[in-house]
């Protein structure tokens, strides 16, 4: 326990009755310096809590007046008209594009990320595993605006071929239809999903790698001693052990994909306000984040900014839930393995 929490042995001493003493401050002398320092540290912690709480409070307080004047159903309407005295806006479109692009990103990034993490921890020759991990981490260092211009100007033109193939093979599914003629464009939900998958890959890989590396050697040796091949050992020992980590990593990646702004803003072509609804991923649109960023220059009245802040609030709640799930899953694993 002391190695993981950093609590000193002093903190864990029991009192004569055998009860656990209140831990933590036993080494403090109660002198002014200690009280000041401890208080400052606690204050910093409380400040972090306050930041998250205030975010929720401020977003909510500015979204509510705008929502009150909203003439349309905020959750189900596809309109977005925030000008004038009768604003009508809803998030159905934004929610669909945000979720669809993130799901596409996860469908690609999770399997590839897990394979890369397995490669780094299990397959790579020892001299390669550190540099390999470093290279994948570099993907996280590339700023999202660079992903944006690379995707829009360099990668994008090559993607229409793949979109044509998917459309020809799976066009009978509503998701891959071409009623809007988007297959020949690179500003599609499909394409931004692919770019997002590259952006979240290092996140998925990093945490998966960490848990895979922690697989108890006894589990692995046990499997090998039973005659398992390397792949069978991974399937029976490494993957089950790492499962919570992979789920957690995927959730963190999903959170990132949901909130990504600039790459989406640059790549995804936004639609005219009265465009017909389509389920196709070969279609443009706007996510919560790109909608807000696209219209940042128009924030001239509380009514307008309130509407966008309401959209931001939904994004905040989405990412909050996703990140909280990630946290809970990994916490339970910790509790289980200790």
């Amino acid at each position: 326990m002391s190695s993981t929490t950093g609590a000193s042995i002093v903190d864990q001493a029991r009192d004569p009755l055998g009860n656990n003493t209140p831990q933590g401050d036993r080494a403090s002398t109660g002198r002014l310096g200690d009280r000041l320092f401890g208080g400052t540290a606690k204050g910093a912690g409380v400040l972090v809590i306050a930041l998250v709480t205030l975010t929720a409070v401020f977003l909510l307080s500015q979204a509510l007046p705008a929502l009150g004047k909203n003439g349309a159903n905020f959750l189900t309407s596809t309109e977005w008209n925030v000008d004038g005295s009768n604003p009508r806006f809803g998030i159905a479109n934004l929610l669909w594009v945000t979720v669809a692009s993130s799901v596409i990103a996860m469908i690609i990034a999770v399997p590839v990320g897990v394979c890369v993490a397995l490669f780094i921890t299990q397959y790579s020759p020892p001299w390669l595993s550190q540099p390999a991990a470093g290279l994948i981490d570099l993907l996280a260092a590339v700023p999202s605006i660079v992903y944006g211009i690379w995707g829009a100007f360099v990668f994008g033109p090559h993607i229409t071929g793949l979109q044509n193939v998917v459309n020809t093979l799976f066009g009978w599914l509503p998701f891959f239809g071409n009623e809007t003629g988007g297959v020949s464009s690179s500003g599609t939900i499909f394409f931004i999903g692919i770019v997002l998958s590259i952006m979240v890959l290092p996140i998925v890989t990093a945490l998966s790698r960490e848990v895979f590396a922690q697989t108890p050697v006894t589990h692995k040796e046990g499997a090998l001693a039973l005659g398992a091949t390397q792949w069978e050992m991974i399937r029976t020992a490494v993957l089950p052990f790492g499962k919570p980590g992979v789920i957690s990593a995927s959730m963190l990646g999903l959170g990132r994909a949901l909130g990504e702004t600039v790459a989406v803003l640059i790549i995804l072509s936004s639609l005219a306000n009265d465009t017909k609804w389509s389920w196709s991923v070969f279609n443009g649109g706007e996510t919560f984040a790109s909608k807000i960023a696209n219209n940042a220059a128009e924030f001239d009245s509380p009514q307008k900014s309130g509407a966008f802040i309401a959209a931001g609030l939904v994004l905040f709640i989405l990412t909050f839930v996703v990140n909280a799930i990630a946290r809970v899953v990994i916490e339970r694993r910790k509790a289980f393995s200790e």
Binding site: T205, G227, T261
Partner: protein
Amino acid sequence: MTVADLTSGSSLSSARQWRPELGLGHRSRAREARNLLARVVMWTAFLIALIPLAWILWTVITRGIGLVLEPVWWNNSQRGITSRMVGGGAAHAIQGTLLMALVTAVMAVPVGVMTAIYLVEYGRGRLAKTVSFMVDILTGIPSIVAALFIYAVWVTTFGLQRVGFAVCLALVMLMIPVIVRSTEEMLKLVPNELREASYALGVPKWKTIAKVVLPTAFSGIVTGILLGLARIMGETAPLLILGPYTANLATNLFGGFMATLPTMINTNRVESLQPAIDRTWASAFTLILVILLLNLAGRLVARTSKVRN
């Protein structure tokens, strides 16, 4: 028949092909093939993952290096340069990016390090759990949400202008969790014997932390700060909401516009004339260069660490 046959579900047929020359483990062709396939898949996944990295770096370097190699790029601003004119530099954007990063770090580092100290050295019970949870939430908060929050406070509530300092406030929210997590990791690695030796000498807890624990973990904390800086320098969303671009040099964080590399890219990318396109890639190259250097520096500092896992 060996144990291996009993453990593999699909080897009933292969059990007949007993080949003692394989030694201890008898492995059917199918299992061997699957093993090989898995190996190939893992290698392929890794190589595929490298393609975008190589492609992006190649694109940015080849398209951006021309301008970046000219001294004027580092010395001049874009003052008076229109999108059809060649020339000018990114000095205003580089200066703005570095200035905002510095101010952000000055605010975020103390809060981040103290929060980590609280979590590792002081915090027990519910408050510490809540703080730790909130740090995770802060890690995952989209930068656009942080920017909206600062907008709601700075512009809507206090009626102030969109200025560089407001951007810094949003960036602080994104930098704090990076610093907390990396500092926390390092503080946990400091051996308890060091703390106990210090206590045994009668040194109070706060002095132990300040004079023994922090210096031991120092290089790790620096690494965290450098990685945190690398993360926030590439952020664009808060700049779009709170920090309008200007072509001129600016040093006032509390008034007027201030250029940064991300907003310089964002301004030039919508132009269709070649000089502006060149500037887009050159500023992207400059930004990646700065961030990669910070990352590299962070990793080098990590190597000098006194405590190891």
